[in-house]
Amino acid sequence: MARGDHLVISSGDAVQPFNYAVGLHGSKFFHELKENRRIVGIKCPACGKVYTPPRRVCGDCFVENKEWLEVGPQGVIDTFTIVRYAFIDPETGKQKPVPYGYGFIRFDGADTRFQHFVELNEARPIKIGARVEPVFAEERKGTIRDILYFRILD
């Protein structure tokens, strides 16, 4: 080996596939999304906070959430970004087209924020406080992609 000649070895195309259990709460959330185009949340019996996406435990109270309710489907943008760097899509391994809008949406009736794509539309610019609604995929599979993106209403 020549002096200063430092080798690098590539992992190649090795992948590590996983099968993530969605759990009771997520399964109900995705069932409602797929079958009924409904967004559901769950309420903490102690502090009253409504969580979307729903989950078993209120972290603030360390109490089990019990009460299911419907939220949205409209909401407001809590914060956002416009992603402009070439990003490798974790789903496809290909580069995602830029720019695209991404933000946190607070569904009407929910206390937490839900992240998703937000449309970029010159007539209705993306901003904090803008009202939005989800655009659902025609063919839904019970995944987060059953919502295509959020459309700005005002």
């Binding site: 997520g26 970004t81 990003f87 991404y102 946190f104 924020r113 992240q115 992609r145």
Partner: protein, 381 residues
Amino acid sequence: MENIAIIGIGMIPIKANYKTHNFADMAWETVNAALADAGISIKDVDNVITTSNDFWDGRTISCMAVGDASGVREKNCSCVEGDGTFGAFYGMARILSGSYGTTLVTGHTKGSESISSLITNAAFDPIYERALGPDMISGCAMQARAYMEKHGLTSRQTALVSVKNHGNAKHNPYAQLPMDISVDDVLASEMIADPLRKLDCSPVSDGCCAIILANEEKAKKLCKKPVWVKGAAFTSDAYFLGDRDLADPRSLVAAAKKAYAMAGITDPTKQIDIAEVYDAFSYQELMWLEGLGICEPGQAASLLEKGDFAVNGKLPVNASGGLLSGHPVIAAGLYRIAECVRQLRGEAGAVQKDGAKTAVAQGLNGVAGQSHCVWVLGADK
């Protein structure tokens, strides 16, 4: 709390790509630098904590690969996955348990060997979030937007952090990106994810840092210039970013309160001489200073404009150049501690704060600062 001291520090220069070194090579040089700094041998080290992240290292139980180069044979070695400040906290707790007199704590990372956006994307929830492609940059861009909107801050104001820190880095031989830049240069740099431009973001980096902790008895016996731990605390916030008010770093506020209570600090603005904070993005330095109670929420930008946080200001912040000038994730918080130690020993050269007696170092873990670890260090016991 029993008195604990930092008796040695070791750093290697932060670089974009250590093609010349594998992880063990980096650990070997860093550990030996820390031992030499303390003036001790590996025999004086009672136990070892290594800090790393398996995704970034591209192997499971990644800490174990640096064990030999960290002198762990026949010693109790444990691993922390997270920022180095969290590893240091565990190392300190082990001494406080009474089982050990000294702990060697290391932290390493190489951002250069993988695709950072995919690594940080994997920190998001695989059921609800990951497939949409959020990563550290887009997550923090949304935090920046929320923080700036809440306090009416402009990109021109946050850009000043980048100007200051890249300029400070010119005096730091370990920094990756020493640069003379202006606010206009930051505003002219490529937009990455609104409102963050390229020069608002820290670079992808490789690095390794080590510190050696000791109880009072060992510190007095082994070390001429120990730096004392006056207070240390960490706290966590919600995992889902959507559960947090991203503009309100409440876990940092809580960690700082606990650390200050231990250290007897009632007025951080007056009692802290120097701060090294986790400036992964320009806006974060301002937000974290407010979370650390160094000023009121929303006030850091105007104090920065006044020059308070400059090297010759009232309370120099990231005099080392900070993470904007080189960001080896995981090791990052240990570098912050090590830079505070240099200041408190009066060894910080051109950026030395005269008579620095008390310093605060901050580390964090999780996207947009889910958990924070705050260290108050003192030149005097």
